[in-house]
Amino acid sequence: MAPGASSRELVCIACPIGCRMTVAMDAAGAITVAGNRCARGDAYGREEILSPKRVLTAVVQTDSAQFPCVPVRTDRSIRREKMGQLLGELYRRRVSLPVREGQVLIEDFDGARVVFTRTLPPDEVPAVG
């Protein structure tokens, strides 16, 4: 490894396998990822030492007594340092039911959309007869 270089041990969070990886950056800024089993691990390792990102999930309050909150997610990873700001925005909101899974709540936050992940109230089950 060249002088001035650095390396970090990481656990990949791209999937539940959790590969133990070593991510190294040389003095010229070139990054190498070792220990990953797939391309997603490589991408995660590079991103993690440059600008760590996460998918954010949360619940938002509703106007319903029966279903007081509805879960949401970002449809892609956002920068970790922006998570607090998005949570603040979500906690100030109160949405009216019905909502459907996949429906958009926020069109653009740090390049991601915030979408509902559950249909509420749930779709009716067919009558038994």
Partner: protein, 421 residues
Amino acid sequence: MINRSVDALVIGGGSAGLAAALRLREGGASVAVVEREPFLGGILLQCIHSGFGLHEFGEDLTGPEYAERFIRPALAAGIEIYLDATVTEIGEIPAGGEPARAVIALSRRLGVIRFAARAVVLAMGCRERNRGNVAIAGTRPSGVFTAGLAQRLVNIEGYVPGSSAVIIGSGDIGLIMARRLTLVGCEVRAVVEIQTWPSGNARNIAQCLNDYSIPLHLGHVVTRIEGRDRVEAVRVAPLSPGGEAMSEREFRIPCDTVLLSVGLIPENELSRGARVPINEGTGGPWVDADYMTGARGIFACGNVLHVHDLVDFVTEEARLCAERAARFLGGGQAEVTLPVAAGANVRSIVPNACAPGRRTVFTLRSLVVKNDVRLVVKVGEQEVRARRLPHVQPSEMVRFVLDAGEIPAQVGAPVVEVSLR
């Protein structure tokens, strides 16, 4: 009282029950699902985090999204669905030909329902071990929750249970809840794990604890919970190599909430009532090569059979179980099977028998933490197959597949033994 007659009755409308019901229905059977909650989806609905569906769909889904992928087809498939209904008893109806099962359910809307079902699929999931199971000393204040209950309060009821918490046990639900509580403004002061390695997977240690600088005390024990009306603190001590709490190094962590993430137990009260034999290694029923329990016509899959790490594998198992149940309903001929036993370093293995003539998906739990392991399949004294595993530990289920013919059918010895070396 309402009487219903179906080919297959599925008990539980969560991930296992929905996948089994859909596969049975695809095979042409008439199917009913009984679910005690007023909605389908089971525990997935409170698991609002992502990480589900990578095997099944090649996508990173949240729990509710994963559930919706089975709820929508189930609603459209012509399956009878009973919500807000609890099964209280699985009995037997003596009949002329193949005996059917009588299953009694109590429905909030319909009253008592009596099902006659030719096959029953147990898919009730599991329950959490609680304070009584792990014997924590101290007072009995409010503020002590199982992690899954806290998850339900935060994610379904929209209620934050406290302002500062200590989590006992490092199971995945506890780790997920450490992050979740942090994000809703409840400060998580520590995760305390009695073993010297974490119970949850490494990825959850990274993204749930390390991301938020939450301390993980491995090889430590909570020696007491303090507080009269509400939790005020926990006392924590390191364990000596002999497993004794080292009281001279005990320390106190003030908090108003304690979460327990100390393991899951298959939910088999109904099964025991139906005299289904239980495997003490898994806490779930013994099942044969068809996922049929020791009670004829009663099948089991998902967390009621054995606790899984990943829902994707619950789905896979539920479908395999449903395919065998469908074959049973169709009067399929008996096939040659061999019993399967847990050998060295294996705590439990599912299923407990296999048919050499077809593919079998095995899942097992290790008794040991070990790197560079050989998984060995022996028939009698003869080693017939081996697999290399980079790492095993008790908290990570090992899944492996034997294809048709990998076990020679005409080996004399009767038992297939799987061990880790």
